[in-house]
Amino acid sequence: MSDYYIPFTKEMKKTHTILTPNMLPIHFRLLMKVLQEYGYHADLLETSGPHIRETGLKYVHNDACYPAILVIGQFIDAIESGKYDPHKVALIYFQTGGGCRASNYISLLRKALERAGYGYVPVISFSLLGLEKHPGFKLPLRAMQKIVYAILYGDLILHLKNQVDPYEIEKGSAARLADELSDILIRRLDEDGVSIRKLKDNMRYIRDAFAKIEVQPRDCIQVGIVGEIYVKFSPLGNNRLAEFLVNEGAEVTLAGLLDFFLYCTLNNVIEINRYGSGRVKRPVMNLLYKILCRVKRLMISIIEETGRFRPFAPFENTVANAQEIIDLHCKMGEGWLLPAEMLELYHLGVKNIVCTQPFGCLPNHICGKGMMKPLKDRYPDMNIVAIDYDPGVTQVNLENRLKLMLANSAAGRSA
């Protein structure tokens, strides 16, 4: 982190509202709940519209990554909205660190705040490794456990919703159910504590609720979305990509957020093994990796129980996929996870892939666009389209490219 920052103090915990950017609507609502449970006033920013981009462009170097422009724009826009007292807000942002310039989002955010005249607003960088000290922001282990649960629930809801969406008889029923389920789970996160049994019950509950939605068979094009984490997930970042694809008659598949955490954890394990630093960290990271792999397998087994839905692949498979095509030390940005996810989708039968990234994304030159040729050489029927997002992106350009990808997939099926 940069050498100066405004710490989030214990007093602030009582007085300040913590604002959070919205990357994944369902997940983040659940995560907010965990923060609230531990006494934080947390607010999820669900704003959208071109003014967010404009605000971002005003305060962030225009060649910076598009996600930084959007997230920072969303923060400053919220501070200036009049809804909050600027002296009573703090910002939180999830940070992974590493050699990608994305590790500088927090610094860019602080600089932007300074420029906009809100230099006093504390920014909490939230990461697995706790890169900075914020006396007022501490979460006990139990809270971390709940965060993992929230991510699991979010992943499962999104995964099943995507499998129902294009087939539902009553338009909008899957989306409605997803909202209802997140309301219910918000309560249960509180009531159920961290009981594994309750976790299983809740996952079955989600599964069965989606199974009840009335569907009709339809010939859908299978499309997977991979890419830089923010534009891949955030509807604000990707101009409602998933929605567009479903409207065009596609069924969308996305790997979950948990995979990204698994990826980060495994990178730590590999890093320690290779470069030998952080002896204390080693067992912790190893353990964390094993636990996360196990909970993912648990979720998979619960989906498999009824056979109604397609499960995720175990993370071990993802890692094996990666090794087929790239070195696991290639770990900046989404690194090896990106081609691994493309392969995973392919093996699931999802041969049409949208690879999303911010324009000029450095790691994706290598791990995204740079891996398409070797992948296609191995699997010629892979149909990948790379979509770059930036503040000047227009819907007509995006749609035309996506339509080409869809047309090609339809041709492939009829041939």
């Binding site: 982190m1 940069s2 050498d3 100066y4 071109p50 462009l57 005003k58 305060y59 170097h61 225009n62 910076a64 990554c65 590493g98 050699g99 310039r101 590790s103 500088n104 927090i106 860019l108 602080r110 600089k111 420029r115 290779r274 470069y275 030998g276 095509i325 790239i326 070195d327 030390h329 290639c330 770990k331 900046m332 000029g360 450095l362 790691p363 030159h365 290598i366 666009k369 740079g370 891996m371 040729k373 070797p374 296609k376 010629p380 029927d381 790379a386 930036d390 503040p391 000047g392 992106v393 227009t394 007509v396 350009n397 035309n400 490219r401 339509k403 080409l404 047309a407 090609n408 041709a411």
Partner: protein
């Protein structure tokens, strides 16, 4: 049974194509520009179709990038254009391996063999039909003339192939330097070819039978020739079908036969008339609410007028100022009281010398007996050319000329923004000296010629176009980015039914936003100061002026001679001239000149030059980086130049004995830091080290077909060429390690490489097919752990060279680090020596700061040589950064190279007569973070920050202006 009628409609970004057929018989076809009146054009064509088809039902499908909106609104099936084309060609020319299609704004490649693969240009468009139109406008000829000219070219100039905007910036100086139009035309086509190949083929070879489609490829023989030559296709394998421009429409009609909707022409007409196109984006605020508001605005700005005089009645001395700009030429003649006696403003039509000759003749005719020119000065891009041609007394750096002119109107001016034809220049003034200069780099979006191009595309003059925008009710929100993005924004707006006036007003707002947020990077309007002067031809446009005031939230000053300020400033400078040497009337009558292209052999830069020979015996050579070609004023041979020193050092490392084999080291990216290490290491192991040497354009071209991501930086993309070169050399193995971490210099929180430097070899392995059967060694290594490094290298080498022993590798690692340490020590010693030399000779030091690989002459474009010829002692960032403490930075300081940059900036900040210029490669994401920090470190200490963006092609004219402005500003500050 007779087949049904099939109608294919292709609505592109600039044209509408209709094709009506019954089976194979084409009943009607048309190819017409729509000037963004899509609906009207479609209706007009439907009318013609109706005359042929009557009330018979047709199978109809729509295609094309601008067709989507209409298809949806009308309820006609839509087929994606690339897909439609592919299906059609497969049926029509079954032996096709590959299709190349260029449209108005899109470029596509379809591979039909071995896994169908269809590609469209990414968000970075341009370089296509609309681009060719733009280029023709620039050359002041028609597209057809350009085609004819290109066929008799004798040489080609390198023109950026990344996107149209860049290409334009390259072509302009060529025009100004007097390069032959024939050659420029051919170079333009070559640029389109290169862009298509580099941007779309992405590592896949274009071979076999290739079919070329689309309007531009149908109409331009020169473009056909360029493609055929570059792809090495014989006539049998290069197919230019006579339906080339209708391919999409044909594809759509084929699609219509099976999946189209059935309509009569009358039904369709009725539907198109009533279709409501969905409105997506919210319009912007109108520029003026009423005529009265505009009147008040116009009155306010009319107050800043320069005094005029009458040339006919004037007697006395006159002073001539010339501004030879990138697209326009301006002249101002002043009387003794600084009154304007004569002025001229017009496009230079690609031949500024002829225009100025004509103007001078005109002037001499009008001057009375007792009136004589007492001084003359010239500024702008063509400064040197014009000065040499006409013996103009003084050459003035653009920025200084503009400041002089601005301070005439407002001595207290704080900020000057000049938007010209090709460039945006801004400077802030502190203590009556230029304090910082910002230019739009390698990107001319948001400038005058940009508005002109759009105006032309809509069939209007710039003035008409601007006027329409003034009272637009709902200006389109077109965003603020490069022209190419803007093109698609306009497309989108058109799709949503925006009127010409809305687009005009919207573009004015875009121009302003681009200048404010992209070039000036302002967040707080107050930071510009109280007194802002706007100038340049573009500000004559009231819509732009108004948009600027609205965006800024304050009133600004626009002198009535906004477009003449450079010439006016030059004329003011001319008043200081003691003895005028401007070419006299008699000599002018016999003045002739001709331009000849040559390649300079003076050094490894091999600059392509244009030699202008004038009838007075003078010559002017343009296009050179240094003064060498002029045969005069050589750069001071003794003055240290660390960039040159490094290149010499690398060259001095000769290969050792070949006991185990020949190992190739690609001289690109991280190799520029660690070459001494790897060289010594492999030499110690008994390998003959083969370096791929410094880059050149030719090396880049060797590998450009294998680049998968065209938006990566040039230093990375050139890596492909180095790999190719090493393979040609037939080395036994190529070594290019992956390194997450760089060397730890303990001056930053972490010591990463950027992702591209770290892992580019992984990309090479995946995309350069030839490497798969080659020993391409790219182990992931940690340079900071010598033991682990030795183990890793052993694991990597042993399978290929079984005689290698671990102990040997360990010893070699030791030898490698010894060599590396002595190299870095030498760099530092050289840096200190250079500083001492500068002090002893009272010279300015320039830290040309970037990454180690910027010393490559192809990547750095010889900017170091240019700076040296301007009198600077040139040092690199890593040769002086050890002399400063780690400054406090407000970003995550975690990359080794960038940590050096911050320290070098801190060093410059602490020393007198030491300046820093930051070299930034286009597409470098990390520099979006470092530039602001470097600027801050320098400016907080009263230093001027200068950034030079470099890419495949860099406009050296602009670089020269920057460096000269820097010197000018430093001198003025000093006084």
């Amino acid at each position: 049974m007779e087949k049904r009628l099939a109608l294919g409609i292709d609505i592109g970004s600039t044209t509408v194509k209709f094709l009506l057929r019954r089976d194979r018989k084409i009943l009607y076809q048309c190819y017409e520009r729509h000037f963004s009146h899509v609906r009207e054009k479609v209706l007009e064509q439907l009318n013609k179709v109706e005359r042929l088809a009557g009330c018979e039902e047709m199978q109809v499908a729509i295609s094309g990038s601008a067709g989507l909106g209409i298809a949806e609104a009308v309820g006609v099936p839509f087929v994606q254009e690339v897909f439609a084309t592919a299906q059609f060609i497969k049926k029509e020319i079954p032996q096709t391996d590959c299709v190349v299609e260029l449209g108005g704004e899109d470029a596509k490649i379809i591979f039909l063999r071995g896994g169908i693969d269809e590609r469209m240009n990414g968000t970075c468009a341009g370089g296509t039909g609309a681009f060719l139109d733009q280029m023709a406008v620039l050359l002041n000829i028609s597209v057809d003339e350009m085609d004819v000219l290109s066929l008799s070219s004798t040489k080609k100039y390198p023109i950026a192939s990344r996107c149209g905007v860049f290409a334009k910036t390259d072509i302009q100086p060529l025009i100004n330097q007097g390069a032959r139009k024939e050659d420029i035309a051919a170079s333009i086509y070559q640029a389109v070819v290169n862009q298509t190949i580099a941007g779309l083929a992405q590592g896949r070879k274009i071979e076999g039978t290739v079919v070329f489609l689309g309007g531009p490829l149908y109409y331009n023989k020169g473009l056909q020739k360029a493609f055929q030559e570059t792809l090495k296709l014989d006539d049998a394998h290069a197919v230019f079908p006579d339906f080339a421009q209708y391919a999409v429409a044909l594809g759509a009609s084929q699609y219509a036969e099976s999946a189209g909707g059935a309509f009569t022409a009358a039904q369709l007409t009725e539907k198109v008339q009533h279709a409501s196109v969905h409105q997506f984006s919210t319009p912007l605020k109108p520029l003026f609410a009423s005529e009265a508001e505009y009147a008040a605005f116009a009155e306010r700005h009319s107050r800043f007028a320069a005094p005029r005089g009458d040339l006919k009645t004037y007697r006395g001395r006159v002073y001539l100022g010339i501004d030879c700009g990138s697209t326009t030429t301006k002249l101002v003649l002043l009387g003794e009281d600084k009154q304007i006696l004569y002025s001229y403003y017009a496009a230079n039509q690609g031949d500024p010398v002829a225009i100025i000759k004509e103007q001078l003749e005109l002037l001499y005719e009008q001057l009375g007996e007792d009136t004589q020119v007492a001084g003359s000065a010239v500024t702008g891009y063509g400064e040197e050319l014009i000065r040499n041609a006409f013996s103009v007394d003084q050459g003035v750096v653009e920025t200084m000329a503009h400041y002089k002119a601005a301070s005439y109107f407002k001595p207290e001016v704080d900020f000057i923004l000049d938007i010209g034809g090709q460039d945006i220049k801004c400077f802030s003034i502190k203590n009556h000296a230029i304090d910082s200069i910002m230019l739009n780099e390698a990107c001319s979006s948001g400038c005058g010629s940009f508005l002109a191009t759009f105006a032309n595309a809509m069939g209007l003059s710039v003035e008409e176009f601007a006027k329409k925008g003034l009272f637009a009710k709902a200006p389109s929100d077109l965003g603020s980015r490069c022209t190419v993005f803007m093109n698609s924004s306009v497309k989108q707006a058109q799709k949503e039914g925006a009127k010409v006036e809305d687009i005009s007003a919207g573009l004015s707002v875009s121009v302003v936003k681009n200048a404010l947020y992209k070039v000036i990077r302002v967040s707080d309007p107050d930071a510009l100061g109280d007194c802002v002067i706007v100038q340049g031809g573009t500000f004559h446009n009231d819509a732009v002026l108004r948009a600027f005031e609205m965006e800024l939230g304050k009133e600004v000053v626009r002198p009535d001679i906004a477009g003449l300020m450079g010439a006016f400033g030059a004329a003011l400078y001319a008043m200081d001239v003691k003895h005028c040497s401007l070419m006299p009337k008699e000599e002018l009558e016999h003045f002739t000149y001709h331009a000849k292209p040559v390649t300079c052999q003076g050094c490894e830069n091999h600059c392509r030059l244009t030699v202008n020979q004038f009838s007075n015996g003078k010559r002017f050579i343009a296009g050179n980086r240094c003064e060498k070609a002029l045969g005069q004023k050589k750069a001071d041979e003794d003055a240290p130049n660390l960039h040159q020193w490094k290149r010499d050092y690398f060259k001095s490392l000769t290969a050792g004995e070949n006991r185990r084999g020949r190992i190739g080291l690609p001289m690109a990216l991280g190799m520029f830091e660690f070459y001494p290490l790897w060289h010594a290491l492999f030499t110690a192991l008994g390998f003959e080290v083969v370096s791929s040497g410094m880059s050149s354009r030719r090396i880049y071209e060797k590998g450009q077909f294998t680049i998968p991501s065209d938006t990566a930086c040039y230093p990375a993309k050139i890596m492909h060429g180095h790999i190719m070169k090493l393979m040609e050399e037939g080395v036994d193995a190529i070594f290019a390690p992956c390194m997450t971490y760089n060397i730890d210099e303990k001056a930053s929180r972490n010591h990463y490489n950027c992702p591209v430097v770290a892992y580019y070899s992984e990309l090479l392995h995946g995309n350069v097919e030839e490497l798969r059967n080659y020993r391409f060694l790219y182990p992931y290594i940690d340079i900071n752990n010598r033991k682990a490094l030795a183990d890793r290298l052993y694991d990597c080498l042993q399978p290929h060279f079984p005689s290698v022993k671990k102990t040997e590798v360990r010893a070699a690692v030791k030898a490698g680090f010894a060599a590396y340490d002595s190299y870095t020590a030498a760099v530092k010693a050289q840096g200190e020596a250079a500083l001492a030399w500068a002090k002893a000779h009272d010279r300015r030091v320039l830290i040309l700061a970037g990454r180690p690989y910027h010393v490559d002459p192809e990547i750095g474009h010889g900017i170091d040589t240019l700076a040296a010829s301007l009198g600077f002692v040139v040092v690199s960032e890593d040769s002086v950064c050890h002399l400063a403490q780690v400054p406090q930075v407000h970003v995550l300081n975690q990359w080794t190279y960038h940590a050096r940059l911050y320290r070098a900036a801190a060093f410059a900040a602490s020393r007198k007569k030491v300046e820093l210029v930051q070299l930034v490669s286009f597409g470098c994401g990390v520099d979006a973070i470092t530039t602001d920090e470097t600027r801050r470190i320098l400016e907080e200490n009263g230093k001027i920050y200068t950034q030079i963006k470099i890419d495949e092609i860099t406009n050296m004219g602009a670089v020269r202006i920057r460096l000269r402005s820097l010197i000018g500003a430093l001198e003025e500050k000093h006084e």
